[in-house]
Symmetry: D2
Subunit: 384 residues, 4 copies
């Protein structure tokens, strides 16, 4: 590795809320500026901006380890972008225990999923088209970015009835993300393979990650960070195209699912950090070391074909289907033990589907109620 | 009371799910048939049907006591309708403890609100208009009711990926509710006044309940039982009206909020049962005793003006505003204690709004995070 | 009120632990020094020390409001002791939500009651008798206090296997409490009357609190703060007495149960603060205003006769027995609704006991499993 | 396998409690009678009795799968004992979800560990010595067993203040266990190696299980099932020995820790079932197939040397130490990531001990507070 670069990371502590005792909820924000950020070769183009966050869901901690490894690696690369990294993005979720485990996915008071609280305002696209369409591409981009930031600031500061705990956290993170051209939100599944949520228009980029499974996401906002940052630009692109103008704003946002929750593995994190650098190198963000994507069969699936399979009965599950290998029709996903039926019914039930699927993740516990989400599968898939 | 009627109640146990151990989740279903249900004066008109359920949210138990008192009272009235009553509607929520309290509002695994899982299929209205519009009003009603029931049966039985735990419970309750003309879903707030969710078109009926506060609900489906039973009929009415035909299907669905959660009071329940009988008498469902609505100022508010006020800071709350009394602009809703600030900041903060509101309910605990829903208020209100 | 005193309160933030994100767990510590603490009339006697804490159990928040009112009042009194006040004593419990409520009584990871983690080392008494018994009373007191503090410091700092989360919090609070002569630990019941845990030897002091119910506690350590501070001195007194020496160390520790949990009421807190000042005035700690204990019948009960009554069946409870009024044999404590039995069993069960009791508190929720602690009662009681 | 035996299993459903909705809490009880139970070769000696239960802690489900495999295997063996098998022993814990995981170890209302609620009455030993010591060994055994059963029945049925939910479950299981000569309580650790809790006097039996780690338990009752069944007999043996009489009652009770919680693996369960049969064959309970214990180094440790190591800081843990391999002084147990310290402190901390230990299990989640139980280790160990 070329050790001649020595990028300095700066750290800021962002205050995102308060608990009942008055304890401050804070999030650490790390920043690298582009190396030689006003150097000769780049002086006429704007410096791009990258935003990477982790651990919005409390139990999904491995992204913090990936950010650790990124911080270690980025210091010694040539950076052509400003890069912001936010581990421990959700200080409520991160510290919320119920029994030994971390309450993962939702606000324990309201039940709302922490990654469904971001903000989208479709009226901004109308406003941008009305106000900015006479200007050049760069001015439109800058103007729309300013509208997005102003809008999220309005939400944070000018609401007499206030914001929910989760909105207050999410909107402050979104303020950072709206300043970026590339957004990576690091998550994990429960017990899971690695997979990537990728907007349909960015599918060419998916092959630069060392991730075998890609979900292709349409332009529909459902509250997640990736959507909240790509949908506005996609809408704007469409609106301009409808008026006869082609603009490529070159914004990409991904949710990167790093594997299973409740686990930290710093060695695997190094591998995943290099996978992210491989993508960032492809986007021209880093140079100085060469990252080459692994050879692998990359499977893809449209979001509409990403299916949850709910347990057809309560019981104790021996999960059988391996992740990332097509499972033929009729082959068992799982067998469910029902000791209460032993002797006067079937104590063991094999569960299968009527068509081939690609299992991606399964529930975190062997104990399931009837209707618990047992597996998520690509029910129709193809190679990228 | 006229003791000459002796209606028999029948009981059925409905199986709505299974836990990990195989334990059956069951719901008791009580039924009265109309008195002399084929008697001379009613023989040419169909017997109407009433559906009343309670305790879909685990902590909201008082509706069970109201159903107890209704069962006691209905036995001695003349019934002009078949009446189905379902206490303990949600056997998961009902028995789910976290610490001393009952986890109220959502599936503890997924965070989804138990009363946001009902089903609505807008395509059925199109189908009904296409298939039934040539027929008489009664045939349209019977035909559409059949479509609703067939659709909910399809959801329950013909989905290869299955249903969530909550959908399986909700859809089976909805099957019972779709057979009814009048639906009452008995809930409570956290710490709360009594209030009524009433579809806008049924506002005249609100005055027959002894409930001072009415929320007027538009025709928008958000997953709740009341909406799932009135929206289809409202849509159908609108669709027929668009084709020039006026039909009044006379369907009414209400969510009745009985006060505070985590409490059983059988004496108050008797009062509330009589309030419901007052409404049912107005609808011609019961005779034999005279129930007269109480004189009271009944306030109403459109759903869009029913506002949650989120805590502007974390702290410990002394709730000051009384329910059901207009609170002038600037008068305190609450004062928030912040002992951590004592001596070097303000330890006591008074919270108020910039316009008059009518406080309806507040959070169940004194301890709140920044962003916890502190109060819900009618922010614009009028008398019915 | 005599406004001539203006005692200054100082504030310190004590660091008691860390969460997974690294967030510091802190506790605010407020201190008053004795007024004119080296004034003429007191210069030859040591300044006594008072320790008051609140909110060790997360849901029991009213003590914070009482400390707020004490801070407001103590500033204007003549203080003859140094006084330390610690609200929000348990930053984990204080901020731990499960649904809307605060997880009250135990570490959510381990289940251990937060008020059963204090430390007691019976060997210190042996050591004190061996090392100190030749000295005068004051030297014994000072020497034993030093042993207690050294021992708790050893626990905190010299354990290669570490301490549990709760021990680390408790021991740091106990360090403060061991420096005091008077210890008040402010708690609440679930839904509860006011009552006082009082060591048997200090029963004369109980009448200075405006609290109608007193539990008399024997010399047995079970992990609570009051016991951890009075048992060592009681043991030492007994050990000295066994060797023929009578010493009164004049140490008193109480657990003060302020009423119900999950509630803040600043007006009631003012009343309770004055009740505490009445006791402190009796002990010579404050002068400058006269606090007179209320006239009331004060009931007492030995701890062995303080009985939990467990629900004999699952069901939904209408709590009937009032607190603080003797309940005759056979009179109902509660009636339990069992809607699942309606029609084919008893839907309503009245629960009573075979002898007179004094109900003190009941469970926080109407929903109980078979075996839930329904009521706690004085099963044998007398007037103080 | 010799298929000539065809033992019939019988099933009974035991009612152990009720939830708030009235839902019955039940436990399935499976029984085999000894093959040819009154056959010639055994007719003069009493039929011994074996009791095996699983899943007292909600998340520890693998024992159910082991019982499934035992039921499959026992049908085809020659049984020289009556065998009772109870899966899903705790219907509250088994079905209690908080988020995706099963609340494992304690009553969610009270925090009391489900395996610390069994009953022990030391007075029975005194009574037995007084009443039975003149009789022969067999009569003493039968008499003492009768006393144990009568006492547990008294606890269940004759307590005017009732029992807790957990006691009611535990005591009914204990009634079954007190009828047995051999008791196996199947548990798991959080993330764990296999290990065995074995009373010190039965250490010779530990080598018949295919379990590498044995904890030797002294004669001290702490509320667990194994203790509740071996302590009374150990006490009685000691009491008789003190009076000069040697009796070997040949009672053995073990807690078998099968590995990690939240997992079902039916293949591993078959292996573990055979390990149990290997022990039961050694005790003369089964014949008909030969089970030979695996060759392995079996490590043992006295309970006093089984140490929990508590996290010295909050953070996210990369668990490094492997189970079952001695870890030298100074070698890392784990490394703890503290992203909040990156740049201005140590982001990565290696944790080690100052002497050699044998790691047995670690915490279930990577996220730990300061003071969370990180690892449990044999801190002083030897080979069996």
């Amino acid at each position: 590795m070329n050790r001649s670069y020595k990028n300095q990371v700066s750290k800021e502590v962002m205050h995102v809320g308060e608990m009942a005792s008055g304890a401050k909820l804070t999030v650490p924000v790390y920043r690298f500026n582009a190396t030689n950020s006003r150097g000769s070769s780049e002086q006429n183009s704007p410096i791009p901006n990258v935003y990477i966050q982790a651990n919005m869901h409390g139990a999904e901690v491995q992204g913090n380890a990936v950010i650790y490894q990124l911080l270690e690696l980025l210091g010694n690369l040539h950076l052509h972008a400003d890069i912001t990294l936010v581990p421990y993005a959700n200080p409520v979720g991160c510290n919320h225990k119920n029994g030994e485990y971390t309450l993962g996915r939702f606000d324990p008071i309201t039940g709302v999923n922490w990654n469904r609280m971001y903000h989208n305002n479709p009226q901004l696209v109308e406003q941008a088209v009305a106000e900015l369409s006479g200007q050049d591409d760069y001015a439109i981009e800058q103007g729309f970015k300013a509208l997005l930031l102003q809008d999220i600031n309005n939400q944070l500061d000018h609401n007499i009835f206030g914001l929910t705990t989760g909105q207050r956290i999410a909107y402050q993170l979104q303020k950072l993300a709206h300043q970026a051209d590339i957004v990576l939100d690091l998550h994990t599944g429960p017990i899971s393979s690695k997979h990537l949520y990728c907007p349909e228009y960015a599918r060419a980029s998916a092959s630069y990650f060392n991730i075998e499974h890609t979900l292709l996401i349409p332009n529909a906002f459902d509250g997640a960070l990736d959507e909240s940052t790509f949908c506005p630009w996609w809408d704007l692109t469409n609106a301009l195209e409808a008026s006869g103008r082609q603009v490529n704003f070159n914004k990409e946002s991904f949710t990167v699912e790093l594997g299973s929750q409740e686990q930290i593995d710093l060695d695997v994190a190094l591998t995943d950090a290099k996978s992210i650098l491989c993508y960032l190198q492809h986007k021209g963000v880093v140079t100085g070391e060469t990252f080459i994507p692994d050879q692998m069969t990359r499977y893809a699936c449209y979001l509409k074909d990403y299916k949850a399979f709910y347990a057809p009965m309560g019981g104790m599950v021996d999960y059988l289907a391996e992740f990332g290998k097509p499972l033929k029709a009729g082959e068992p996903l799982a067998r469910i033990l029902r000791m209460d039926n032993y002797g006067d019914g079937d104590a063991l039930h094999y569960i299968s589907l009527d068509h081939e699927v690609l299992p991606i993740l399964h529930f975190a516990s062997a104990s399931v109620n009837q209707g618990t989400e047992l597996y998520k599968v690509f029910s129709d898939f193809f190679t990228l």
